[in-house]
């Protein structure tokens, strides 16, 4: 039977799992704080160290990581997270530096930060980066702040609208709103690309710029990208590159060369830092030279051989307490050094080869809405021959039974049954063939044994969950849980 306890349920009064130094100064006593102290103890567990380790080890077994098996989650770039990256950040001095330490004592950290900035500039074709943004969505917000600040600084206060294609990630329009601007959505054409006429129709002197993911969320390269950037620039807007799909372009195309002015990079996608179950990521923002002064403070700069921290007057301000998720950035730098230029050049091509191979192999079983080569990921629109109306959700859940993670589903929103598959460059032909076999088997099951799919998964730690109950009962803590259990008697 699978372990099924909460940490609170193995707690016993009086047990401890820590060892702290002895008291050194008994003449002082925290009880002297009197009324400033909380009235009751916090409801925290009391467990021994082994209890704690077993608990978390047991629940970890209910998770699926990249090292468990194939993880073709589209738009997420679930590549291998190299071990050396982890070793370096843990065994060296970096984790022991206080962000306010004297600059002379953090030269190595600042140098790593500075060199990574430069490497990202070279890879992206943009002049300068800030590593301070914490994640992709945070990078979007910071990049949009740069865009807005640029127009404001020129006294062009009318430009408050930002164009996004209807295929964009939800974070794009949400970031625009948080930045105090307005999202203008344009429809995609029947090839899933930006419709040039639709774009022209919304361009005017209120447009601050356009956000674009390229390859787009359908895994397709915007073939008119040069014309798109030209049109937006002619209308006085700036081009923002959403780095979510940058992996496809490594070694082939640089955003700066396509005419983008601002971008963010998801280091946790393209540069192999672990996703951590949903963070911490890192979302560096890069800009063309005319926007450098607007990058967020603090900035890391270099004078001869000395690295220093500067606060620039024209900057958008500060968007993080210190230097962002610094240890995450360090892992990305380790990855770049490991690969070097020759292997970085191979990332996009091999990822693209993998995705096209999957496209070709599955297009007889799954409906391919857009013909032609894809980039690093391929999007299908559900099963092709589907007499029992099996949904994409069922296909995804069945994959879990076969020991694979599901692809991204129901995104992009342009199709009703989207299945978005991203087989990164770290996946072998054998792994991909296994996946293809399973996907074909599921397509067959959909015709012959539809109920198995509707009930899948069956071999996982839990089966499908009651999401309506969760939203209705709103049990968000152990306290809520106990109250709920007690109320049921």
């Amino acid at each position: 039977m699978m372990y099924n306890k909460l940490i609170f349920e193995i707690s016993q009064p009086g047990r401890v799992g820590y060892s702290l130094p002895k008291r050194q100064f008994t003449k002082y006593d925290i009880k002297d704080l009197g009324n400033h102290l909380r009235q009751t103890d916090a409801l925290l567990p009391e467990v021994s160290e082994l209890d704690c380790v077993r608990h978390f080890t047991n629940i970890s077994k209910k998770n699926f990581g990249v090292e468990n098996g194939f993880y073709p989650l589209g738009s997420c770039t679930m590549k291998y997270n190299p071990k050396i990256n982890e070793e370096l950040v843990k065994t060296m001095s970096f984790a022991k530096l206080h962000p306010y330490q004297p600059i002379s004592t953090v030269q190595g950290a600042l140098r790593a930060y500075y060199e990574l900035q430069n490497a990202l500039s070279e890879i992206s074709g943009l002049e300068e980066f800030s590593l301070n943004p914490f994640a992709g969505a945070h990078g979007e917000l910071v990049g949009l702040m740069v865009m807005k600040e640029y127009h404001m600084a020129r006294g062009d206060f009318k430009r408050t609208k930002v164009i996004v294609p209807d295929s964009a990630h939800g974070t794009n329009p949400a970031s625009i709103t948080v930045c105090g601007m307005e999202a203008v959505e344009i429809v995609s054409n029947d090839q899933g690309m930006v419709d040039i006429e639709a774009l022209k129709a919304v361009l005017n002197d209120e447009i601050a710029g356009m956000m674009l993911t390229n390859p787009n969320t359908l895994g397709i390269f915007e073939k008119d990208i040069v014309e798109i950037t030209k049109l937006v620039h002619e209308a006085g807007g700036l081009m923002y590159y959403d780095g979510a799909n940058l992996n496809a372009l490594l070694g082939k195309v640089r955003p700066g060369d396509m005419g983008f002015d601002i971008m963010h990079i998801n280091l946790h996608k393209t540069f192999s830092t672990p996703h951590g179950g949903g963070g911490p990521g890192s979302g560096p923002v890069g800009v063309k030279d005319f926007l450098i002064d607007y990058l967020p403070n603090p900035r890391v700069k270099k004078l001869e051989d000395y690295y220093y921290v500067a606060n620039v007057g024209d900057a958008i301000g500060q968007i993080s307490g210190y230097f962002g998720n610094f240890l995450v950035a360090l892992r990305a730098y380790s990855y770049i050094l490991n690969l070097g230029k020759e292997n970085l050049m191979q990332v996009g091509p091999l990822a693209t080869l993998n995705a096209n191979y999957v496209r070709q192999a599955l297009k007889n079983d799954y409906y391919l809405p857009i013909e032609g080569y894809c980039m690093h990921e391929v999007v299908f629109d559900g099963l092709k021959d589907n007499p029992h109306e099996i949904r994409t959700l069922d296909v995804a859940k069945r994959l879990l039974d076969y020991g694979m993670h599901a692809p991204t589903i129901y995104f992009p929103l342009l199709f009703h049954q989207s299945i978005m598959i991203e087989p990164t460059e770290t996946e072998s032909l054998q792994t991909i063939n296994d996946f293809i076999d399973v996907m074909k088997k599921i397509a067959k099951e959909a015709k012959e044994d539809p109920d198995t799919l509707r009930n899948a998964p069956l071999s996982t730690p839990i089966t499908r969950t009651d999401e309506v109950f969760a939203a209705k009962e709103m049990i968000f803590s152990y306290k809520d849980y106990l109250e709920y259990i007690n109320s049921k008697g």
């Binding site: 925290i30 190299p82 994640a135 301000g317």
Partner: protein, 444 residues
């Protein structure tokens, strides 16, 4: 061949043949030649693992590990070894956001446990699954206040950490939120000034306890005045301190936020840390970010899922509460493991030891006759003194002894010119504290 790329020459040839193309380049034929890269990146050539190690070692040696007597939001607390062991497990480390609950119960359960612990530490009803850091959590808390009250002006306590204020101001500038400050009265939040500034435009107030001087504030009457004005009270706190100090819930705050770095995370040059954000059930739909909830599976087994997702950007797009997508999940695990091993007793003990150590240093510094306390208010592990000795001289003298201590507040505002802040955790030994005092005694 390269160790992270499994493709053999034969594999590539086979795959190209299946695709009926002669080279990988053909797959990129839709991309205009004009924008395609002509040359290799101008970067270093691939390094062997040994060379990367050596390179990082050289970088690492350009840093200096110091004995830390400073805080200002980042504290040098003890890190139980179990944290690294558990957070290094690949099932936690390499997985994605738990979109498939059937194979993500590990992540979802620790998020639920974390939310439970934050709920109890803050004394409020519901915590989300975390924010990026304390400062961005504070900014989002202020946005929540504007959304709840449908007003657009925030009052910021002048005793809020200046770094946090900087981040909040950036967020406000772009979203178009107005603000004003509440003055400090002898180092703490001035409730009289606050009451004067409360009017029909005020969405809410953000206060910090212990504040950035390290002083413990008394919020008697603050919540009543705030609620009478239909505004929202936000309390920012170092989460560890809430293990012993009066909770935001006891202060009747509506929102609690802050940083969890003090829960066993390394100082790490400032990141990653993690922000917490908690509120009352009444305002849960205004809470940004992920929330994990209890449910059952089709067989009635206990399960956890991400819930109330209709608030979030992937559903509501431009109308979402926030643009936040993921959380700081691995740091949620750090926090949950730390609070599990420290538990009910440990969280109190770590605060008591820090309190004792800090008060010993405080007394010794006053004893030198060179440091003065203008505030004379209770504090926990961090305190601020006045001295006429040059802060640069102090920093330099301490550095020679391998100590980083005494954060000069002079750079923040002229009125703080002679003020210097110290933080002392349970890690500091008597010998280290005495060494610091000895250095400062010798300065004029």
């Amino acid at each position: 061949m390269f160790k992270y790329f499994p493709h053999t020459k034969d594999d590539i040839e086979f795959m190209l043949k299946e695709l009926n193309v002669s080279s990988i380049n053909e797959l990129f034929s839709g991309i205009s030649e004009n924008v395609q890269l002509k040359n290799d990146y101008d970067l270093k050539s691939s390094m062997s693992e040994q060379e990367v190690r050596q390179y990082f070692k050289e970088l690492s040696q350009e840093n200096r590990e110091l004995v830390i007597f400073s805080g200002m939001g980042i504290y040098d607390h003890y890190q139980p070894s179990v944290i690294d062991a558990i957070t290094s497990r690949q099932e936690f480390l390499t997985s994605y956001t738990p979109y498939q609950p059937e194979i993500s119960q590990g992540t979802l359960q620790y998020i639920f446990e974390y939310q439970s612990m934050i709920q109890s530490l803050t004394g409020l009803d519901v915590s989300n699954a975390s924010m990026y850091d304390g400062a961005t959590a504070a900014a989002e808390a202020c946005f929540m206040a504007t959304s709840i009250s449908r007003r657009n002006k925030i009052l910021i306590s002048k005793t809020l950490n200046p770094g946090t204020i900087k981040v909040i101001k950036t967020y406000f500038k772009f979203k178009g939120v107005e603000y004003d400050y509440v003055e400090a009265d002898n180092g703490v939040f001035d409730i009289e000034d606050y009451k004067k500034k409360l009017d029909g435009e005020i969405a809410g107030v953000i206060v910090q306890n212990p504040n950035f001087f390290g002083l413990i504030e008394d919020y008697t009457g603050v919540a009543d005045a705030t609620h009478a004005n239909k505004s929202v009270m936000i309390q920012y706190s170092d989460i560890s301190a809430l293990g012993v100090l009066k909770t935001p819930g006891e202060n009747e705050a509506d929102i609690a936020c802050g940083d969890c770095q003090s829960l066993g995370m390394p100082v790490a040059f400032g990141g990653p840390t993690i922000g917490y954000l908690a509120t009352t059930k009444k305002h849960v739909r205004k809470l940004p970010g992920r929330i994990c909830g209890y449910t059952t599976d089709t067989e009635g087994k206990r399960a956890f899922v991400l819930t109330l997702q209709a608030r979030e950007q992937h559903i509501r797009r431009a109308k979402a509460n926030s643009n936040i997508c993921s959380n700081q999940s691995l740091m949620v695990l750090y926090s949950a493991v730390y609070l599990s091993v420290m538990g009910k007793q440990g969280i109190k003990e770590v605060n008591a030891l820090s309190y004792e150590n800090a008060h010993y240093l405080y007394d010794r510094l006053l004893g030198t006759g060179k440091f003065f306390d203008n505030f004379k208010k209770p504090f926990l592990k961090e305190f601020t003194l006045e001295t006429t000795i040059s802060h640069d001289l102090i920093a330099q003298a301490l550095l020679e002894k391998g100590i980083f201590g005494g954060f000069s507040l002079g750079g923040i505002s002229e009125e703080y010119d002679n003020l210097i802040n110290f933080a002392v955790t349970e890690k500091r030994t008597k010998e280290e504290i005495d060494r610091l005092v000895e250095v400062l005694e010798g300065l004029v």
